[in-house]
């Protein structure tokens, strides 16, 4: 394996381990020693990529802003797809779980940010594009609607985690779109949008995602 390729792989292994430990323990209780143990890399390798716990948290947050969704014929479908795919992947990928936990760790985000502004900005761009294509009701403010969805998504994850046996997180996100889209989409567009839970899995599987470490 070429040196550069090895470095990329190490970085990925470390971020997966860091994501898993942050997700389980939160920022303040996490130790670099635990991440090292989980990643199974040398101390030198870890510190080469991430000189501090704060850098590890930043790395996890940055990694959690995934590639944009594929453009569908209806741009509003791409907007919905962002959330459906993330709701499917979040419980399954340590980096995403870690980022979600870090973002909800009050106080701590001052040190390493959250993925929220990027997620919200991406949604805003899609909504504006959808508006330009005439898919969106005229009074919709793309920035506000996108922030609302990012915030709601985050809260639903917390509520779903805390209540075993209730609707799953994925189910709640799908219902969130059903509730919000009538206030966003033109009626003719609304009818064509797929907000089903199953779509999240299809989207996640058709993309060649990086291999995920078991955790």
């Amino acid at each position: 394996m070429a040196q550069q390729e090895r470095a990329i792989r190490t970085r990925k292994v470390v971020l997966d381990a860091a994501g898993a430990v942050f997700a389980e323990q939160g920022y303040s209780a996490t130790t670099i020693a635990e991440i090292l143990k989980r990643a199974g890399v040398t101390k030198g390798a870890l510190y080469f990529h991430f000189p501090s716990k704060q850098d590890l948290a930043r790395g996890v947050i940055e990694q959690a802003v995934t590639e944009p969704p594929r453009e569908e014929e209806l741009i509003l479908q791409s907007f919905v797809d962002m959330g459906l795919e993330l709701a499917y992947r979040l419980p399954r990928e340590p980096v995403l779980r870690g980022a979600a936990r870090l973002a909800a760790d009050q106080g701590a985000p001052d040190f390493f940010g959250t993925p929220w502004p990027q997620w919200a900005y991406r949604g805003e761009q899609l909504l504006n594009k959808a508006k330009a294509q005439g898919e969106v009701l005229p009074h919709v403010d793309a920035a506000v609607t996108s922030r609302l969805l990012v915030g709601s998504f985050t809260g639903l994850q917390l509520v779903a985690q805390s209540e075993a046996g209730a609707e799953s997180f994925q189910e709640l996100v799908s219902r969130l779109y059903d509730h919000v889209l009538p206030a966003v989409a033109l009626p003719g567009v609304l009818m064509q949008l797929d907000t089903s839970v199953e779509r999240g899995a299809l989207l996640a599987e058709r993309k060649p995602h990086k291999q995920e470490a078991m955790s």
Copy 2:
């Protein structure tokens, strides 16, 4: 002051102090010593009401489930009022801030619960009543819609906290209702609902709430 009255007052002072400290520091970093200092009561008085930190957290959570909103002619207005009033009061009242932080403290709610199930249940009851009065679209599932709103409310609070200068929490909650109600209310009812930010303040002020400790 009669003994019982003094006991009620002490309990309230302790819960306000506990709410403020939990809100600032989260569950695990909070110490009873800090709450004692903030409350300015004796150790004996505090332990009489709350034998452990876990009991303090439970007390804060229970206290955060406030009295139901006044019944309006449209029951859907009462449903909206719950959230508008809470969004106004939450940043202003230590017990509510503490409960919100505790609920979002992952892992910790296993020890002391969250106010979410009660909030969701109260919303569900109102929605069912509104349905019986013919205010609600026929396909609405009261339990799901209420849980969605509780989860979204929680997430919006986190997002609003993390972004200074953006829309306030109250503003976001008001916009949340604007987005969700078209999927819930019959069109003729929808037109009559007041989701304005100002309504939250009016609701909070017309009720005789307990005096809040400064914190």
